[in-house]
């Protein structure tokens, strides 16, 4: 099996998931200049709710086909997370919009802790395995083994991202979002209901996070109350890599970060003569993040000036 091709495929799949989560960070940052620290946890809640739904559906209607079950899980997880995103913004961020910048960051950390521990109380400390319900299609593409799930993840992310693109560029809400991102004051003078736009941003971002959460738990076959934290950090790094506040940047950054991680994990052993192994995979995202912030704080596609960071 060709290692390079295999790692490219893995990186692409991972990258599409990162991109979906990164979009949530970037949209919120673009409008509020706030790092929604709790976004990773929304992803985790999405995965947990979907798993619970799948368990429930298998319980009441045994024999349903796997893809239908997963679809049902997504259909419940998405509105649940949308509601959660709405609530987080309303409770933890809206009252602090005029407070010093440290304040919402600290409430964000607080919300993140609360969500994690609630999930732990509800679903327990142990890893929850994703049931083996999806059909196991496999085929070989340019020397790499590709599973049906991988194709599905990439296609669904592409579809969702295309939908988001249309929403932001072509609809009234999208125009209001872009206006709010440029200037909240002027947008509100033009008759944009800024509060509603901000809520909508959180709700949309959370929907994407829910889908990503289901994907990641299906891909790794696991869900855990702690899974959102690292995923969130990596997605944030991806958003910064692409240029935070820039929607195309988040997509590009996510894909790139996925590829960097997969290739890095595949080759780090050879590059360092066996000194560092693939167990350092999680370090790459942080190095990318730090390198971008130090050398090009505006990110790849960001047009904002350096001293913003």
């Amino acid at each position: 099996m060709d290692i390079l091709a295999q790692q490219l495929v893995n990186g692409l799949v991972l990258g599409s998931i990162y991109a979906l989560v990164a979009l949530g960070y970037t949209m919120v940052y673009g409008i509020l200049e706030l790092i929604n620290f709790a976004h990773g946890e929304v992803t985790m809640i999405g995965a947990m709710v979907a798993l619970a739904t799948i368990g429930f559906l298998t319980g009441i209607a045994p024999g349903l086909p796997g893809p239908l079950l997963v679809g049902g899980g997504i259909l419940v997880a998405v509105p649940a997370c949308m509601l959660l995103g709405f609530a987080i913004e309303k409770i933890a961020y809206r009252p602090l919009r005029k407070a010093p910048r440290l304040a919402p960051l600290i409430t964000a950390i607080g919300v993140s802790i609360v969500l994690q521990n609630l999930a732990m109380l509800i679903w327990g400390r142990q890893y929850i395995s994703f049931p083996q319900i999806l059909p196991d299609y496999r085929f070989v593409l340019i020397g790499a083994q590709v599973t049906g799930l991988q194709v599905f993840i990439v296609l669904l992310s592409a579809l969702v991202m295309a939908g988001l693109w249309l929403l932001v560029e072509k609809t009234r809400l999208g125009r209001a979002m872009r206006a709010t991102a440029q200037s909240r004051e002027v947008a509100s003078l033009m008759g944009v209901n800024v509060d509603r736009v901000i809520s909508a941003t959180f709700v949309i971002g959370s929907a994407l996070a829910a889908i990503a959460g289901v994907m990641v738990s299906a891909y790794y076959g696991l869900a855990h109350y702690y899974m959102g934290f690292l995923l969130g950090l990596k997605a944030f790094s991806a958003a910064v890599l692409g240029g935070i506040g820039n929607i195309a940047g988040a997509m590009l950054g996510g894909l790139l970060l996925g590829l960097i991680e997969a290739l890095g994990a595949g080759y780090i052993g050879d590059l360092t003569g066996g000194f560092l192994g693939s167990n350092y995979q999680d370090v790459f995202a942080f190095f990318v993040l730090i390198a971008v912030l130090v050398f090009r704080p505006s990110g790849l596609l960001g047009e904002r000036v350096a001293n913003r960071a």
């Binding site: 200049e33 706030l34 790092i35 409770i91 933890a92 009252p95 602090l96 005029k98 407070a99 010093p100 910048r101 440290l102 304040a103 919402p104 960051l105 600290i106 409430t107 950390i109 607080g110 919300v111 993140s112 802790i113 609360v114 994690q116 521990n117 609630l118 732990m120 109380l121 934290f229 950090l233 944030f236 790094s237 910064v240 066996g274 000194f275 560092l276 192994g277 167990n279 350092y280 999680d282 370090v283 995202a285 942080f286 190095f287 993040l289 730090i290 912030l293 130090v294 704080p297 350096a306 001293n307 913003r308 960071a309």
Partner: protein, 374 residues
């Protein structure tokens, strides 16, 4: 608004010598009283809370004085602890004396503070928070994995059998008889930690009032104005990171000696966040507040353990494991504090004014305080 506590403090402030004597007696007797009434486990908790006071005082220099939100602070605690473990355990077969390692470990952590601080100099506010968080995680991942091919950290198993503190032939590893009293190791460590904590608090106070302390405050309020006044922003920021890291490294070395065992698990992100919580809860930038925050957040979770008994008594069954509730309550407390008392329980005077600002100008100023818009 003045609370009863503040009134009592004001009354004592009028007679500083009496207050000082009372405090000294209280602190000296505290472990003995605690050990006699609540048991030795609580003396251990006191020891740990002193370590957290040291950590919080150190982080307060970075976050409270200089206004740099550091979410990876626990890395320096970890480095101090590992440094001690390397030089005083069978892991490398080295057994250097305590008094020699501790300052070296603090300096080692301080050096890392500069190394990790240097790339972040241009970052402010939330970006800085995320990058420092990343650094903290990187250090932890390395500690977790540096057991092969050369075994430096012994990986996830951690380092075992670390030497206890030994001062002038007196080993803290076994009980000592003083004046007819048998002092257990936890008591001995309490007094050692107490002396060092007081020393660090003293240093922190002196730093606050020093030329450097004023430079930090200026930098926190407005970096550009501070630079225009001739403050070398780079050096002053690096000094803040270095000082904070030194405090952390010192506490880490003590932790290693006290526990006798360390592993990367003790230094995860939540520990960093816990220390940040202590500062925020108590009142950023104000040392009494920070001490209060550190004590509250170490003592409350211990007291929460009794929630299990309460559940059993009331409901006949333990429904929620109290240790699971700990972080949940912390999270709620963080959100609640920020919403209702953002300056902390004992805020510093400056910060109280900032958070209480009502008119438009002050509002703009406070919005810019941690703003990345330069």
């Amino acid at each position: 608004m003045r609370t009863a506590l503040e009134l009592a403090l004001a009354r004592l402030r009028a007679r500083p010598r009496l207050a000082f004597a009372l405090l000294a007696i209280l602190l000296a007797l505290l472990p003995l009283l605690t050990g006699a009434t609540l048991g030795r486990a609580w003396v251990r908790v006191l020891d740990l809370s002193l370590l957290y006071v040291m950590l919080a005082t150190g982080l307060n220099i970075v976050v409270g004085y200089a206004g740099l939100l550091d979410l990876g602070y626990i890395a320096f605690y970890a480095l101090g602890a590992y440094f001690y473990a390397w030089l005083a355990s069978p892991h490398f077969g080295l057994h250097l004396p305590f008094w020699a390692i501790l300052p070296m470990g603090a300096a080692f952590a301080g050096l890392f503070g500069v190394v990790l601080g240097a790339p972040t100099l241009r970052l402010r506010g939330d970006y800085l928070a995320i990058v420092t968080l990343g650094f903290g995680e990187i250090i932890r991942i390395f500690l977790n994995n540096l057991n092969a091919p050369v075994n430096i950290t012994n990986g996830p198993q951690g380092i075992n059998m670390i030497d206890p503190v030994r001062l002038d032939g007196l080993s803290f590893g076994s009980p000592v008889q003083v004046l007819g009293l048998s002092l257990a190791p936890v008591h001995l460590y309490y007094y050692l930690f107490l002396v060092l904590t007081l020393l660090l608090i003293f240093i922190a106070y002196r730093l606050q009032d020093s030329r450097l302390g004023r430079a930090w405050a200026a930098l926190r309020e407005d970096e550009i104005a501070a630079a225009a006044m001739g403050i070398n922003a780079r050096n002053v920021k690096l000094l803040a990171f270095a000082m904070g890291a030194t405090f952390g490294g010192l506490a880490g070395g003590l932790f290693a000696a006290f526990q006798g065992f360390i592993s990367p698990d003790s230094f995860n992100l939540w520990e960093s966040i816990l220390v940040v919580c202590m500062i925020v809860l108590g009142g950023m930038g104000n040392i009494p507040g920070v001490i209060l925050g550190a004590l509250l957040l170490t003592l409350i979770p211990e007291a929460l353990r009794y929630l299990g008994d309460v559940q059993r008594a009331l409901l006949g069954h333990v429904f929620v494991d109290p240790s699971d509730l700990r972080m949940l309550l912390f999270g709620l407390a963080l959100v609640g504090m920020m919403l209702y008392r953002p300056a902390g329980l004992l805020p510093s005077r400056v910060r109280r004014r900032e958070f209480a600002a009502v008119d438009g100008v002050a509002e703009q100023e406070q919005a810019d305080l941690y703003d990345s818009r330069a």
